[in-house]
């Protein structure tokens, strides 16, 4: 089986390296990177804006270009997250937590360098796993029933809610608010419109991009206006700064490997997007760290691990998307949509029926990631130029990009209004010292959690024991329970001596 995979991969390289395909891959990476760097523009808006261009193309170059746009904009998004605290692609919400403080300390270059190393390393591992495990993982993924999916989501939510800076209880509260936001829209089972207040635009869910840009973009502008001079003032990132020093490399090495492992593990599970993965990777690093206080204040581990997790997850995530037709996150859903438009039905038969697309895509990931590194080394100076702009010019410009970016996702002005609403709500929460990042996690997982919860109980005729009777599910629940108990114990012990010297924590949590 593995031998066959290798032969197929060899053919895949042939497909991806054909000059015509290679050119489109390069164009995709370049455009994706460019758009991803623009504040307020992420993979979602980049892909959705460029999707119509691919309608007239052949299937193979079309998918290669979309994949190029995807990881180009993903890396570009990491630049925005680290240097400007603007996560345009939801997984980067975690990168902001430590990447942005690193920029404030003048180590933004090192953070970018680590991101590049971590993402290349993780993507390579992810690709290797994809090559060897694709056929095997199809079998495992089939074993996941609703109870298993619910339990693993719950674990993700518990991790996500408790990882944020400040009170774990407040983090959980915000996760629940996110879950509530996720239930806005038409209920899949009954067709009833929930929490739409008669607004037709809300029947189709709250827009993810609007929520992310509102909570992180607009909220941040509201908190920083007239308070910040220049985000990047005094930050100079040159080629030589991008090379992290040995100490940084050393402290980032194991987090990178752990992040990659988490990302790979979760990639095989249908329905778990990269956001949950990055949150988990970050939570793990913070929990096992000897100095958890550094997290959120510029710990390089907090950048390396989630970025590695996100990239390996992204690669492995193509397995359920392509072989089962279950997309892990909205970006995957878009790529799935592009495949369907091209007349290709994702499913277990895809690997055999459209071997050129599947293996060509796998090969192009590797080539694309190399292109990304080659591109970003000379262009980083240009990206940094964006940072020298004083804040009083930057935020109106970024606000414009956010407005246009959100508008272009669905050509809807209503969603621009959503950005404003979430921005204001986020600012209120942040001023009450609630972390806003868990809202996004809850929102992304909300629908899947609810659907699987309902489906599992439907199967068990209303008996909650189904979640502990099934071994895989029971395992995830046990880990969640351990985590909660552990955190409670840890918080109580810690709060005893910390209450006396609690300080005001920064604007974004």
């Amino acid at each position: 089986m593995i031998y066959q995979s290798l032969i197929d991969l060899w053919h895949g390289f042939g497909v991806a390296l054909a000059p015509h395909n290679l050119l489109w891959s390069f164009v995709g990476v370049l455009i994706g990177n460019l758009i991803g760097v623009l504040p307020g523009m992420g993979a979602l808006s980049a892909i959705s804006m460029l999707l119509p261009l691919t309608y007239t193309m052949q299937p193979v170059p079309a998918i290669l270009m979309l994949a190029g746009i995807f990881y180009g904009s993903q890396y570009g998004g990491a630049i925005g997250a680290i240097l400007l605290n603007l996560p345009c692609h939801p997984p980067h919400a975690v990168t902001c937590l430590d990447g942005y403080p690193m920029t404030k300390q003048g180590r933004g270059g090192a953070a970018l360098g680590i991101t590049m190393i971590a993402s290349f390393f993780a993507a390579s591992v992810g690709i290797i796993v994809m090559i060897f495990a694709s056929p095997l993982l199809v079998d495992v993924a089939f074993k996941f029933g609703p109870a298993e999916i619910f339990s693993i989501m719950l674990l993700g939510l518990v991790c996500g809610g408790t990882l944020s800076r400040g009170s774990a209880l407040k983090g959980v509260a915000m996760t629940i608010v996110g879950l509530m936001l996720g239930s806005v829209g038409t209920d899949v089972n009954s067709g009833l419109a929930r929490f739409t207040f008669g607004i037709p635009e809300l029947q189709d869910k709250v827009e993810l991009v609007a929520l992310a840009l509102g909570l992180f973009g607009v909220t941040e502008f509201l908190r920083s206006v007239n308070r910040l001079d220049a985000v990047g003032s005094g930050v100079k990132v040159r080629l030589r700064d991008m090379r992290p020093n040995n100490a940084e490399l050393k402290s980032a090495f194991f987090p990178m490997i752990r992040g990659t492992a988490i990302g790979t593990l979760f990639g095989a599970m249908p329905g778990t997007g990269p956001t949950i993965t990055t949150f988990l990777a970050y939570a793990l690093e913070r929990r096992i760290s000897k100095t958890p206080d550094r997290f959120g204040k510029g710990a390089i581990e907090g950048v390396a691990s989630p970025e590695a997790a996100s990239h390996s997850k992204t690669q492995v995530d193509f397995i359920p998307t392509m072989t089962l037709g279950i997309p892990g996150d909205p970006v995957m859903a878009l790529i799935l949509g592009a495949l369907l438009i091209q007349g290709i039905q994702p499913g277990p038969q895809l690997i055999t029926e459209h071997a050129d697309i599947f293996w060509g895509l796998v090969a192009s990931f590797w080539i694309g990631n190399i292109l990304l590194v080659i591109l970003n080394v000379p262009l980083i100076g240009l990206w940094v130029k964006l940072l020298q702009i004083p804040y009083r010019y930057l935020y109106p410009a970024a606000l414009f990009f956010i407005c246009v970016g959100v508008y272009s996702t669905n050509n809807s002005l209503f969603e621009v209004g959503e950005v404003l609403a979430f921005g204001l709500a986020g600012a209120v929460f942040v001023s009450l010292e609630f972390p806003v990042a868990p809202i996004l996690l809850g929102f992304v997982l909300g629908r899947i959690v609810e659907e699987n919860f309902r489906r599992a109980l439907l199967l068990s005729h209303g008996s909650l024991t189904i979640f502990v009777e099934r071994p895989i599910s029971a395992c995830f629940l046990a880990i969640s329970a351990l985590l909660i108990v552990g955190i409670l114990f840890w918080t109580v012990r810690r709060s005893r001596f910390i209450t006396s010297r609690r300080k005001f924590s920064g604007p974004s949590a």
Binding site: M180, L192, L222, N411, L420, H461
Partner: protein
């Protein structure tokens, strides 16, 4: 709940109390709506079950946050977090203007409005600077989005 009133209460009471109260408010509101959507039974859940469950959880957490926050939050000073009315106002109005001009005006007036109005939110920005910035962004917008990406947004428009 408007941000302004939240801030005014904050100067008198502590943050965790307000935060907890806000959570309870959201939780109860969601429970109230969720019950109206039909709860159903455990085996055959209605569309209101999951939201109502979340609402109850959030209300409970809100109560715990409000009650336990007291002692710890007394030490918390609202340092440097006074509401910036000009900034908030201009950013809010800027986005609203983008929506309004987007519908009744088109891409060009909308772009100009959001950049100009929100730029005026910074006390160091003069009218000339804001004007130059919005013209610059307008040019960029036309090149990148209109010419380059073919955004589905008419340059000038009036309604749908």
């Amino acid at each position: 709940m408007s941000a302004g009133s939240a801030r005014r209460i904050l100067s008198n009471y502590n943050k965790d109390f307000c935060g907890g109260a806000l959570l309870i408010l959201i939780g109860l509101a969601v429970v109230y709506r969720g019950v109206a959507y039909n709860i159903g039974t455990m085996a055959e859940m209605g569309p209101g079950f999951f939201p109502a469950m979340l609402g109850v959880l959030l209300t409970l957490i809100g109560a715990v946050v409000a009650l336990t926050g007291n002692a710890a939050a007394l030490a918390t000073k609202t340092k440097g977090s006074r509401l910036d009315f000009r900034g908030w106002g201009c950013i809010t109005v800027g986005i609203i203007a983008f929506i309004a001009f987007g519908k009744y005006g088109g891409l060009i007036p909308a772009t100009f409005a959001v950049v100009f109005i929100s730029a005026m939110g910074d006390r160091n920005n003069t009218i000339t600077r804001a004007l130059l910035l919005s013209i610059g962004m307008l040019v960029l917008c036309l090149i990148v989005f209109w010419w380059g990406l073919h955004i589905q947004f008419p340059l000038f428009a009036w309604g749908e």
